[in-house]
């Protein structure tokens, strides 16, 4: 890596291939990620404009996953920076390799170099440890850079990110300014635990995603768990759709639907009933208060479950089929 001082047009188009939204959507679907039109269009735009994309939405609806899938679709590397409170430039951008520096100073002790020369020596590239942001900038082939849960980092870090996201360049005082050889596709995710600054928002394209509607949730279940039977998938999606309108503290996302569906498939259940729900509640609700709330609402969701096999069949309401075709035998 060498400081690239050659001028590169700042607003130049991305060097990533221009991918059409429909093809992007298909490619995502092939990898089990079912996206809607808005999502695909925004991703197309992100690649075309070479701007970072800020994705906001509740937890567990595939914000992080979208970056992983995008890297796979583009056949490029995913570089991930997980944000946390106290994250600083040394962990995000670069750090000097201090033991190596000290060792080098010790080894070259006898050479009577000037202070300036020694300094230039140990603050040079071989002593540099690259952290995700720098790593993303020096790649020969544009990677996908995922800056995950930016709202967990503090404002100081957000301000620091602006230089990187606005210019795709990094200044290391001892080395100089390093410009991106290829602009990475940057995806920034936030769970909205804190309001992000306007400056950061304006550097990014914006996408707000919500829980998937019923049809898409069914499609997601089928895409990720091909062995699931249609009736179970429908029931899960119906139940989740109902759950998301209830005042739970931690509303389950798609990640929970998938966990739950996987659990049910592994347990060889082909329908949801009361006992199954009780046994697997931990897959969807992660707080004791929420468990109690769900139990207290039994009368309101009972129609979404298959009646208990122990009760006589004729007293049960007919199974709704929601117009989704025949029920497969498992």
């Amino acid at each position: 890596m060498r400081p690239d001082r050659s001028h590169r047009s700042r607003r130049g188009a991305s060097l990533l291939p221009h991918v059409n939204a429909d093809r992007l959507r298909e490619a995502f679907a092939e990898r089990g990620y079912i996206a809607d039109d808005d999502f695909a269009t925004t991703f197309e735009l992100m690649l075309a404009l070479g701007k970072p994309l800020l994705i906001e939405g509740p937890a567990g609806i595939g914000k992080t996953e979208s970056a992983k899938v995008l890297a796979d679709v583009l056949g490029t590397r995913l570089i991930r920076l997980q944000c946390y409170e106290g994250l600083d430039a040394a962990s995000a951008l670069y750090e000097w390799n201090y033991p190596k520096q000290l060792l080098h100073l010790r080894v070259t002790e006898r050479e009577n170099d000037s202070v300036q020369l020694r300094e230039a020596e140990i603050f040079s590239e071989p002593f540099l440890l690259r952290r995700p942001l720098l790593e993303a900038i020096v790649q020969d082939r544009a990677p996908v850079l995922l800056i995950d849960e930016i709202d967990r980092a503090d404002e100081a870090f957000e301000a620091f990110l602006l230089e990187v996201l606005g210019e795709f360049q990094v200044t290391i005082p001892e080395i100089g300014t390093i410009r991106a050889k290829e602009r990475p596709a940057v995806i920034v995710t936030s769970n909205r635990s804190r309001d992000l600054s306007d400056a950061l928002r304006r550097r990014c394209l914006y996408l707000c995603i919500d829980y998937p509607p019923f049809e898409r949730e069914v499609a997601i279940l089928h895409a990720r768990l091909p062995e699931i039977n249609a009736r179970l998938a429908t029931q899960i999606a119906r139940f989740m759709e109902w759950m998301r309108d209830q005042p739970f503290q931690k509303v389950p996302g798609t990640a929970e639907s998938l966990d739950w569906a996987l659990a049910l498939v592994r347990l060889h259940r082909d329908a949801l009933d009361d006992r199954t729900l009780e046994a697997t509640m931990g897959c969807i609700l992660k707080l004791q208060e929420d468990w109690e709330l769900l139990r207290s609402m039994h009368a309101r969701y009972a129609h979404l479950l298959t009646p208990d096999p122990n009760t006589p069949a004729h007293s049960a309401p007919p199974d709704p089929d929601y117009g989704l075709g025949t029920v497969q035998a498992h």
């Binding site: 269009t41 925004t42 075309a48 106290g86 100073l105 503090d154 394209l205």
Partner: protein, 355 residues
């Protein structure tokens, strides 16, 4: 394509002037590049693309969608229209229709929204006096108060390491750099440690009729607070809750308060709405300030639940009650009785002069 470009320009202009979007030249440029990249394919695509460029937060999306539908579905800019339809327009197809506000709005609004609107208009309890513009007087007092408040709240240490003479950790970077002066020999160790943590603030202001005398001063304090601390959010409530952080930060008059201003008080319901929608603003270094007289016409169990939740998720709750200054005050109103066990402090305050 020229059509689309000029329509996009005009649309951006409309968003900026009529809907208060912050669109600078860079955003407009991006909007043009976006329409160029996406092209005339279908309306939904164009909308998603422009939305990605023009919106920066979820609250802006409904306004954007309404504006987009009104502007583009009319055939004014003609994007999804067949060509002959556009050509037949005498004015070149760039003028938005004059009635785009009136004719499209009602169809777009969901039943729920209209219902809320009607409720707000005709409910006998819930008055709807518009909130006053934020007066500028008293701001300095409020600011001084807030500065004192911020300096007095200590919430332990941050997780971010800073150079400190007697910190707990070795600062290798500075140590190595200093050692260069002594030929690579480490003579003095540099250290770093965790600095004191900045608290977060949430201020919830009761703007019901019974508080009308005190709410404006409380708003001043909230304004000082959100401008002093980036980690502060402010809310007003009456029978509903509304966040006003951004209005305060931008120094805008507070509008669209609807049921959040000047009505009766439903502390319980409003606080529950806060916990449900903004619960993530609370964490164990958040200091919550409630400004209310505790005269609640709502549901007491709801208030109890909300107070318990807020207390559990925050560092402390301070309740500021304007009536507490009066001689012989005891917190006997039902609301105060319920809230009392969860409070770190109950303070009297009747205005900025009293600060």
């Amino acid at each position: 394509m020229a059509d689309l470009a000029s329509a996009t320009l005009e649309f951006c202009n409309m968003l900026r002037t009529e809907h208060d979007f912050t669109l600078g030249r860079a955003e407009v440029h991006d909007a043009l590049r976006a329409t160029e990249a996406i092209g005339v394919r279908e309306r939904g695509r164009l909308r998603a693309a422009l939305r990605a460029v023009c919106c920066t937060r979820p609250e802006e999306i409904p306004a954007f969608d309404r504006a987009f539908d009104a502007f583009f579905s009319s055939g004014a800019a003609g994007v999804p229209q067949p060509k002959h339809a556009r050509r037949s327009r005498p004015d070149g197809g760039e003028e938005p229709p004059p009635d785009r506000q009136s004719s499209f709005r009602l169809e777009d609004e969901s039943l729920a929204q209209r219902w809320q609107y009607l409720q707000a208009r005709y409910s006998p309890i819930e008055g709807a006096s518009p909130p006053p513009p934020i007066p500028l007087d008293g701001y300095d007092d409020a600011d001084a108060l807030v500065r004192r408040l911020i300096s007095r709240i200590h919430l332990g240490r941050s997780r971010r390491l800073r150079p400190m003479p007697h910190g707990r950790f070795l600062d290798l970077r500075r140590t190595v750099r200093a050692s260069l002066q002594t030929g690579g020999e480490i003579v003095a160790l540099r250290r770093r440690g965790y600095p004191l943590r900045n608290p977060r603030f949430v201020i919830l202001i009761d703007a019901s009729r019974s508080m009308s005398e005190y709410a404006p001063a409380a708003i001043q304090v909230a304004r000082a607070l959100v401008r002093r601390s980036r980690r502060a959010s402010a809310f007003v409530f009456s029978t509903a809750l509304r966040e006003i952080t951004r209005d305060l930060r931008r120094n805008q008059p507070i509008t669209n308060t609807g049921e959040a201003w000047g009505g009766g008080t439903r502390i319980g319901a409003s606080l529950n709405a806060f916990v449900r929608n903004f619960g993530s603003r609370l964490d164990d270094h958040t200091f919550v300030i409630m400004v209310s007289d505790g005269l609640d016409i709502g549901d007491i169990p709801q208030l109890e639940h909300a107070m318990r939740e807020i207390a559990r998720r925050s560092a402390a709750i301070a309740w500021v009650n304007p009536h507490a200054a009066q001689a012989g005050f005891t917190p006997v109103s039902r609301g105060m009785q319920t809230a009392l066990p969860y409070l770190a402090s109950l303070t009297a305050w009747s205005g900025l002069a009293d600060a």
